[in-house]
C-alpha cells in the first residue's frame, strides 16, 4: 500500500519537531517576559520627598521645566505636562520616551508621588509646580544596579531551565514514540530469523506511516519465508523419496540374486550391497545437513544433563560394537545441565566420536570444561596422529577427508560438517586443534541455557510442543 504524503513519517516528524520546538521556545520567551517586567511603582519615601520639595519650590521662578534639564543633585527632568492646550502640552525625555513611554504616562497620572525603577534610572514623581506636573529621574545607585542585574540574570536562568527540561521532555517523548515501534520491529525480525510465521507486532501493521509499512513488509516477508521453507521441505522429501525408492529396489533385488544359503558367495554382489547401504547413508546425511542449514529442524529444548548424555552415548556406541565401548571414555568433570535439544546435541557429539573411532585406533576421551555461568565446552580428544595444521579448518567441510587413501574404509565424509551445523543451530560452534600431547581435540562450545526458558516440561510428549503455537494463533 502506497503511503499518502500526509501520512508520511517525514512529515509527521517535521511537524512534531516543529510544534514541540515552538512550544519550548514560546514558553521560554513568555517566562523571559514575565521576569523582565519592570517593578511596580512604590510610594515615594518621606525623606526623599522632604529633600526634594525645597528644591522644587526654588524652581517656581522658572517659567517651565523642559525634559533633560538637570535639577539639583543628580535629578533630571524626565517628563513635564502643562494644563494648556498646545503642541508643547506633553514633553518627554526622548530616550525614555522611546523605551518606557507607557510607564512615563502612567506615572504622570498618579495621585501621589511614586518611585519606579527602570533599567536606566529611578523615576520619581509626579510633582506639581504651579501649572506643571513633572517626573524626575536619577541614575541608579550601585546597590540598585546590582539588584537589577540579579533580576535579569534570574530571567535568563529561568529561560535556560525551561529550554533544558522542555527539550529533555520532548526528547524522551520522541524517543519513546520512535523507539518502541522500532524495538518491536527488531524483535519481529528476530522472530522471523527463528522461523516464526506469526509476528508479535500488536497494532503496528495498522499504522499508516512508514513504520506501519515496514511492519507489513515484515509480515509479508515472514509469510514468504514460511512458504519457501515449506517448498524446500517438500523438495527435500521428494528428492529423498525419489532417490530412496530405487535404492530400496536395488537392495531387495540384490538380496533376491544372492544365494540364500551363502549370501557372501558372490563378492561383487556383496560389494554392491555395501555400496547401496553407503548411498543410503550419504543421502540421509546430505538431507540432514540440508535441513540443518536451511533451518528446517524443529528444536525441542528440554533440561539435558550433559554428563548423562555423554554416558548414554558411550553406552549406545558400546551396544553397536563392543570394541567401541572399550575405547570411549567419559571423564568426570563439571558437566552442566542446560536447556537444549538433546537429539541434536547427541548428533553433534556422536558424529565427532564416531569420526574419531573411525580414523584412529586408541582411546577417545570425552571431557567438559565449564567457563562461567553461560558457556561450556565439550572436548572430544583422540590419540591418533592428528591433522596437518593447514587442514584443520577444512575438517568441517562436507566430503573433506584428511587422507584420500582411506576413502573406502571410512565413512561418507559428512559427520564433522553435520556436527558443526547442528552445533550452530544450538547456538554454539565447533573448533579443532592438535593437542600438544598428540591427537586431535575437537571443542564443542555451547551456551548454558537456564531451565526457566522452557515452557513445556514434559520431555516425552513431542506433540504438546507442536500444538501449542497453533492454539495461540
Amino acid at each position: 500500500m502506497q503511503i499518502r504524503w500526509y501520512h508520511s513519517l517525514t512529515l509527521r516528524l517535521l511537524l512534531l519537531f516543529w510544534a514541540l520546538l515552538f512550544a519550548v521556545a514560546s514558553s521560554g520567551f513568555l517566562l523571559a517576559i514575565w521576569y523582565a517586567q519592570p517593578e511596580t511603582a512604590k510610594p515615594l519615601p518621606q525623606e526623599v520627598q522632604e529633600t526634594l520639595s525645597p528644591l522644587l519650590s526654588d524652581q517656581v521662578t522658572f517659567s517651565s521645566l523642559t525634559p533633560g534639564r538637570l535639577l539639583a543633585g543628580n535629578y533630571r527632568v524626565a517628563a513635564a505636562v502643562t494644563p494648556e492646550e498646545g503642541p508643547n502640552r506633553l514633553q518627554l525625555e526622548p530616550n525614555l520616551a522611546n523605551t518606557h513611554r507607557r510607564e512615563l504616562l502612567r506615572q504622570l497620572d498618579a495621585d501621589q508621588p511614586q518611585q519606579l525603577r527602570l533599567p536606566n534610572g529611578m523615576l520619581v514623581g509626579p510633582f506639581v509646580l504651579n501649572t506643571q506636573r513633572i517626573l524626575l529621574i536619577r541614575p541608579l545607585s550601585e546597590d540598585e544596579r546590582v539588584d537589577q542585574q540579579v533580576n535579569s540574570e534570574r530571567a535568563e536562568q529561568a529561560q535556560t531551565m525551561v529550554l533544558l527540561f522542555g527539550s529533555l521532555l520532548i526528547a524522551v517523548l520522541l524517543g519513546i514514540w520512535l523507539v518502541l515501534p522500532l524495538k518491536r520491529l527488531i524483535s519481529a525480525t528476530r522472530e522471523i530469523a527463528a522461523g516464526a510465521e506469526k509476528l508479535h507486532l500488536k497494532r503496528l501493521p495498522r499504522r499508516t506511516d512508514e513504520l506501519g509499512e515496514l511492519a507489513r513488509a515484515l509480515e509479508t516477508a515472514a509469510h514468504d519465508l514460511k512458504v519457501s521453507r515449506d517448498a524446500q521441505r517438500r523438495l527435500l522429501s521428494d528428492v529423498s523419496h525419489e532417490l530412496r525408492s530405487p535404492l530400496a529396489r536395488m537392495q531387495v533385488a540384490l538380496m533376491l540374486s544372492q544365494d540364500d544359503e551363502n549370501p557372501d558367495a558372490n563378492p561383487h554382489l556383496t560389494q554392491m550391497s555395501r555400496d547401496v547401504d553407503r548411498l543410503g547413508t550419504i543421502i540421509e546425511r546430505i538431507l540432514s545437513l540440508s535441513r540443518l542449514e536451511n533451518g528446517l529442524v524443529k528444536l525441542d529444548p528440554q533440561p539435558v544433563n550433559t554428563h548423562e548424555l555423554a554416558k548414554i552415548l558411550a553406552a549406545d556406541l558400546a551396544y553397536v560394537d563392543a570394541k567401541y565401548g572399550e575405547r570411549v571414555l567419559v571423564l568426570d568433570a563439571d558437566w552442566p545441565t542446560t536447556a537444549t535439544d538433546d537429539e541434536l546435541l547427541r548428533l553433534v557429539i556422536e558424529n565427532l566420536v564416531r569420526n574419531a573411532l573411525q580414523y584412529t585406533a586408541g582411546i577417545i576421551e570425552l571431557d567438559c570444561v565449564r567457563h562461567d555461568d553461560k558457556h561450556f565446552t565439550i572436548l572430544v580428544r583422540d590419540h591418533g596422529d592428528g591433522v596437518p595444521e593447514a587442514q584443520l579448518a577444512q575438517l568441517f567441510e562436507p566430503f573433506f577427508r584428511g587422507d584420500p587413501s582411506r576413502h573406502h574404509k571410512a565413512g561418507v565424509g559428512l559427520g564433522m560438517a553435520l556436527s558443526l551445523r547442528a552445533a550452530n543451530v544450538l547456538g554454539g560452534s565447533v573448533t579443532a586443534r592438535n593437542h600438544p600431547e598428540g591427537g586431535l581435540e575437537v571443542s564443542v562450545n555451547l551456551p548454558i541455557v537456564p531451565m526457566d526458558t522452557i515452557i513445556d516440561d514434559e520431555p516425552t510428549d513431542t506433540e504438546a510442543a507442536e500444538q501449542e503455537p497453533q492454539e495461540s494463533n
Partner: protein, 225 residues
C-alpha cells in the same frame, strides 16, 4: 497361513518383496494405492499390514488414521521413504506399531515382520488377568480397562501397558518394553517407545502421569493415592 497386506505404489518393489516374503512362508496381498489399500485392509482379515507413506490418493498417514478408527488390533509396520524423523514419529503417533526407513535391508524387514507377529499372544497358555494402579489387563480379550473404562489400544500399546502392569510399580527398562512390545531391542537414539507411551497417556482420562518417566532408565506405574 499368515496373511500380510502390502500397501505400496512401487510395483516393482512390491513384487520383489512378494517373492521374499512368500519364500518366508507368508501370504502377501498387494494394494497399489491408498483407496484400494484401505478397502482391502478393512475387508480382509490380515495379520499384519505393511504401509508405505507416500501413496497416490490418500497417503499412508491418512490411511492409517482411518484404518485405526475401525481396526485397532492389526499391527501396522510403516515403510517410510522420507528421511524426516518427524515422519517416523507422526506415523507412530497415528497408531503404527513400528517403522522401517527405506532403503531397508530386506532381512531387516523379515525380522521386523516376524517380531511383530511373534508377540501376538499365544492362546494355548491361559494367562491370568493382571491388575495394578487402576489398570485391569485381560490378556484373553486383549483388553485393558483403566478405572473401569475400556482403553482402545493398538497391539503395541497393549503390550507396553501389559509389561508395565506386570512390573507392578518396578521400573521397566526401555529395552525390556521394546522387546515385549516390538519384538526387538531398541536401537540407539530410537524414540519410538516414548511416542507409544505418549499415545497411551493421551488415552487415559484421569491422571495419565501415573505412567511415570524415569529418566535414563525406563518407565514405571505409580499406585494412586
Amino acid at each position: 497361513m499368515t496373511k500380510l497386506l502390502l500397501v505400496d505404489d512401487d510395483a516393482e518393489l512390491s513384487s520383489m518383496l512378494e517373492q521374499i516374503l512368500t519364500k518366508e512362508g507368508y501370504q502377501l496381498t498387494l494394494a497399489p494405492d491408498g483407496e484400494i489399500g484401505l478397502q482391502r485392509a478393512l475387508s480382509g482379515s490380515f495379520d499384519l499390514i505393511l504401509l508405505d507413506v507416500m501413496l497416490p490418493g490418500i497417503d499412508g498417514f491418512q490411511l492409517l488414521q482411518r484404518l485405526r478408527q475401525q481396526l485397532r488390533s492389526t499391527p501396522v509396520l510403516m515403510l517410510t521413504a522420507r528421511g524426516d524423523d518427524d515422519d517416523r514419529v507422526q506415523g507412530l503417533e497415528l497408531g503404527a506399531d513400528d517403522y522401517l526407513p527405506k532403503p531397508f535391508n530386506p532381512r531387516e524387514l523379515v525380522a521386523r515382520v516376524k517380531a511383530l507377529l511373534r508377540r501376538t499372544p499365544n492362546t494355548s497358555v491361559r494367562p491370568e488377568p493382571l491388575e495394578y494402579a487402576g489398570f485391569h489387563v485381560n490378556p484373553l480379550q486383549n483388553e485393558v480397562r483403566c478405572d473401569e473404562q475400556l482403553l482402545e489400544l493398538t497391539p503395541t500399546e497393549f503390550d507396553i501397558l501389559r509389561a508395565l502392569v506386570q512390573g507392578k510399580g518396578q521400573v521397566v527398562s526401555k529395552d525390556q518394553l521394546s522387546v515385549a512390545a516390538l519384538g526387538r531391542q531398541l536401537a540407539p537414539f530410537d524414540r519410538s517407545l516414548d511416542v507409544h507411551i505418549s499415545n497411551i497417556r493421551k488415552k487415559i482420562e484421569h491422571n495419565p502421569e501415573r505412567i511415570q518417566t524415569v529418566r535414563g532408565r525406563g518407565y514405571r506405574l505409580l499406585q494412586l493415592a
